[in-house]
Structure formats: structure tokens, C-alpha cells
Symmetry: C2
Subunit: 343 residues, 2 copies
Amino acid sequence: MAPITNARVLFKSYPEGYPIPGETTVYDTTQTIDLETVPLNGGFLVKTLVLSVDPYFRGRMRESKTSSYIGGFEIGAPLDGFGIGVVLRSENSKVAVGKHVYGPKTLHQEYTVYPELGHAAIIEKHPDLPWTVYVGALGMPGQTAFVGWKEYSDAKPGQVAFVTTGAGGVGAIVVQLAKAAGLKVISSAGSDEKVEFMKSIGADVPFNYKTTDTRAVLEKEGPIDVYWDNVGGEILDAAIEFAAQNGRLIECGSISGYNTGQTPIKNISMVVGKCLHMHGFLVWPLLPKYYEEFYATMPGKIASGEFKYVEEVTKGLDKVGDVILAVQNGTSKAKAVVVVAEE
Amino acid sequence: MAPITNARVLFKSYPEGYPIPGETTVYDTTQTIDLETVPLNGGFLVKTLVLSVDPYFRGRMRESKTSSYIGGFEIGAPLDGFGIGVVLRSENSKVAVGKHVYGPKTLHQEYTVYPELGHAAIIEKHPDLPWTVYVGALGMPGQTAFVGWKEYSDAKPGQVAFVTTGAGGVGAIVVQLAKAAGLKVISSAGSDEKVEFMKSIGADVPFNYKTTDTRAVLEKEGPIDVYWDNVGGEILDAAIEFAAQNGRLIECGSISGYNTGQTPIKNISMVVGKCLHMHGFLVWPLLPKYYEEFYATMPGKIASGEFKYVEEVTKGLDKVGDVILAVQNGTSKAKAVVVVAEE
């Protein structure tokens, strides 16, 4: 079989503000691969099926001298992120042909030879669910919601939660975990369509932060016992202002500042008198503690419809740059997934 | 016995910036009291011996519509705070004449009839110690250090602590608790004299934040596993910047902003990637948990010299206004105590 094109999405330059398709990242078709003869050297060849595009990508678009919790993208190299692929060939006894690999460092290219599994895992799919959900509600975003909520919410029935980006990959699961725990849930997002979705998954007070004043909502509906922060900035400040005594602030992200700089927080001194607890966290260190519980419970809840999810699926590796931008500027409509190929 | 003067310190007006003696507070000698005939109505008459002047006073000098964790001072009424007095007369069977009362709402006046003990307690003094230390290292400040450190430091030998106001009533005890727990201790204060004191109580890296760049010290001596915050503002920002992964930020106060407004915090978004835990706390909710341990261990350690303390004792109720200002602007040399009368 002759070599075929192995399209890739390369990281081209550090963005100043928002990542621009064609400038920050570039779709490249110059590389070829011979699927039958490419040397595996003990590894395995994967055909990429789905790729996850997430808010944290922006943090990886900085020069690596800027310290971050995760390595930066390398100029000239393919992007990488969560993804799922099917094994075409293998010289690794743990990785059988036809199995599916879910990996945190899946390259943004059509075909890849991986030398070893590393942090990736072989996963099985629930027959009623698509692969896409395994990088969303059943992947890193869902796991992030699950472990952060379980570890830090200290939630009690009747308390009040405020969840930002409540229609997003993480936030929508948090909304549903909070409702399942018996809390009143206030949740924010940036479009009326997202407000409708938040309503459909049980949020008691869903609102569009672009057209409704967050402080007014919190003043009326609070005080807040559990704040789930995906945004930072002024909304974090409002959450602190209207936090209940002994409130918990779960810090998952601060996308309001990823592209335009973080807005300084004015109300931090209130944490003393209110006895607030702020927990920054990453999913990795906590995942081992909750891994079995997550996979034992959540796929069934998602498949049965007890927990709902919504995703925005874009077809084509060439669209990755557009999807990255949409995730950063909030025009994405839901958890963003790129389908690279069907099986 | 004829009525005698019962001098008081009255709260006169809300300060704009720093509290000005004679404007914010006024020493008043217009009231008299007849110690033999003043009606007790079931209560008890106390002669005030020592009064504690603390940073939190500034927070009580706001109009009460500004919510705070503790009631504001009332215009025209005497100040109140932690203090110790001796019982002169009593109609309360739990409060014997000659006993000493330690109370959180001791009025700033020479003699007071209290209707009931309320949150006050009868305390005994270690024979080798003065009463003054019972409003300092063995009073609320020492308790604040003790309960905050025990509850939130999660300290392990070999880790690094950074303690602000390390020569103050709270900070000096935190420095010594951190050393006793086997940590390397960086500590800051605002004069070379305080730096010498911090050195004498075991701080490994004591420095004067007015003449030494905090960020440079932390960059060299960090990263910080436990940050004890009494100051807020830029130093809190620096502590976050140089915090270690999984660091704990214990928020006890933010005196840098009490009089001039809080400086917004720029680095809060770093709590996510570093997995930092910020705990705001007040001593009251935690004190019951540690009360017995505190009084069982700390008086002996203080009396034996195992734990050191320094206090700045000022004689005379008429000096309260000056002492309040010195505590707020940092010109006080150590934990501030006013001796109102000898027994």
C-alpha cells in the first residue's frame, strides 16, 4: 500500500490574545505515512477517531519558561490533547489490534505510532453511547467535575451552589451532581440557548451572565455555600461577596482571563471573616481515588439519561483551529469535540 | 465611700483612613461610680486590669451596615475588646470576689458592672507569668495561632513556612509552632528590631519587608508549603506566586488594607495549577476543639521559656487611642497591651 497523507494540526506561534486559526495553529497535509510498513519499534499504530478541545489549551500556548501545570505546546509540532483512536497494528502485547485507546496526549494527526501506553488506557464503550462522550461527560471534563465535587464540595441538602459555565463539559456535570446532592443550583452561561440547556438538566436559577447582572442574582438567590469556579475574575469576586459563612470555593479554571489577562480579585480579604475555603485542584492527583467509582456509576447514568450531556461535534481535523477559538471566546455551544474519522 | 471617676475610652467617629486619637476615640472622665453602692442586679463589678489592643479593631470602626464578622463599635459608647479584670463585688454565685475574669467584650473603662459572664471566663494565672500575657500569647492572639496552625497547616518536617507579621501577637506564636513542627521558617516584619526578635524565636529567614524585597526572598528560599497571612495585598500575591504545589494559605488577616483599602490580588488563578488550598478562619468556631489542649500545654511552654513572647505594655487607659493607631500603622513594637490598673 502506498503512503497516504497524514494530516496534522501544528502549533505555529504563541498568540498574544485569542488563538487565531491559521496563525496560532495550522492545518498541515505535507506528511505522509505508509500504514502497512511504518516501523512500530515495539509500539502501536493508532488511527485517531475523536479529539477533545478544551479551555486548558490556552494555557499550553505560552512559552514554556512560563511555568504551568502542564507542558506547553511545542512550536512546529502537532497539538495534543485528550483523544480516542483505534489500534491498527501493534507490537505491544497489552494493546491489541481493534481495541480503543483513550489518551491525554493524543496527537492532533490522523495516524500516530505511540511507543507505549504511558498515561493512556484501553477503554470499552457502552453500546448505547458514541465515542465522543468518552472525551466529554465520561472523559476528563466529567472526571474533573466528579472528583472536584466529591473531594471539596462538602455539600449538604438544602445548601446553595453556584456553578459557572454550567452548560460546559465540566459545569453541566457539576450542575447535575449538585442537584443529585439536594442543593439549590444557580448556574451561569453566556447564551440563552445554554440557559435553556441548564434548565433542562435541573438548574434552579440558570441565567445568562451577559444579559443578567451576576451580583443581583447572587444577592437575591444566595448566599452561596458551594461555588464552582471555571471563570475567575469579576464573577469570582461576586461569588466571594455573596458567599455564605464557611462557604467552599472550588477553583477549576479562570477562562475569563486566559486570553485577555486575569482581572485582579478585590474581595479576597473577605475569606477571613466568612471562614471561606478555596480549593484549587487538578483532576490527575485526585483521579486514582475516584476512578473506579466514576466508571462504575457514570456511564450507566449517562446511557440511561439520568445524567444529561450535550456536545458540539465538529467533523474534520482541519477545523481544530476554529474549534479552539470558539472554546476560548465562548461561541462554542457545548463541550467541543472534533471527529477526525469514523472507524 | 463617695463616687469616684470612672474613666472610659469612647468611640467618637468613623475614621476615613487611620484611626486618630482624640477624633476616632476620646478619653472621657465625666462619668463617676460608687463602687460600694452601684447596683449589681444579679451581676458583678469588675475593676479592669489589662486591655488588649488588636488589629481587628479597625474592622469594628465601620458603620454596622457594612457587614463584618463581629459587631461594630457604637458611636458614643466605650470601646470593648479582650481584657482581664478582678472581681470587686458579685451577686453571681459563679463569679467570686477576688477572681479574675477574661472576657472578649471587656469595656474600655476602669470599672464595669457586667450582668453575666456570657463568653467571658474565670481564669487562673501561672505564678511566674504576668496577667498581660493572658491577653497575648496565652489569650486570643496565641489561640488564633494555635488553632489555625493545628487545623490548616498540614505541616510536615522539612517543609517551608512563610509567616507574616512574625513578631506580632499571632505571628510570633506561629513562627514557633512552625519551628516546633520541623519546618524551615521564613518570616517578615516591618523593623530591624522585629527581625532580631524573630531570629531569637527561631525563624530561619527573618527579614524586614520594608527594606528587603519579599519576592526575592521567596524566590530564593521557597517554594512555600504553608503561608500564614496576616497582611494580604502584594505579599499575599507574592506568596501565591512562590507557593509550592499543594501549598496551604492560612488567611488570618489582611492588615495591609485595613486602613487604606485592600490591594486587589492578581495571582489567584494560580491556585488551580498549583492545587493551593486557602483557608480563611476565625478563632471562635475552632477554639472549642483545641481549648483544653491549648491551656494544658501553652502556659507551661511560655512559663518555661520554651515558647517566647514579647509584648509592648503601655500604662494608662488614656493611651488607648495612641496604641490603637500604633497597631494599625505598624509602629507598635510587639503585641500591644494596655495596663489600666494594678491589682
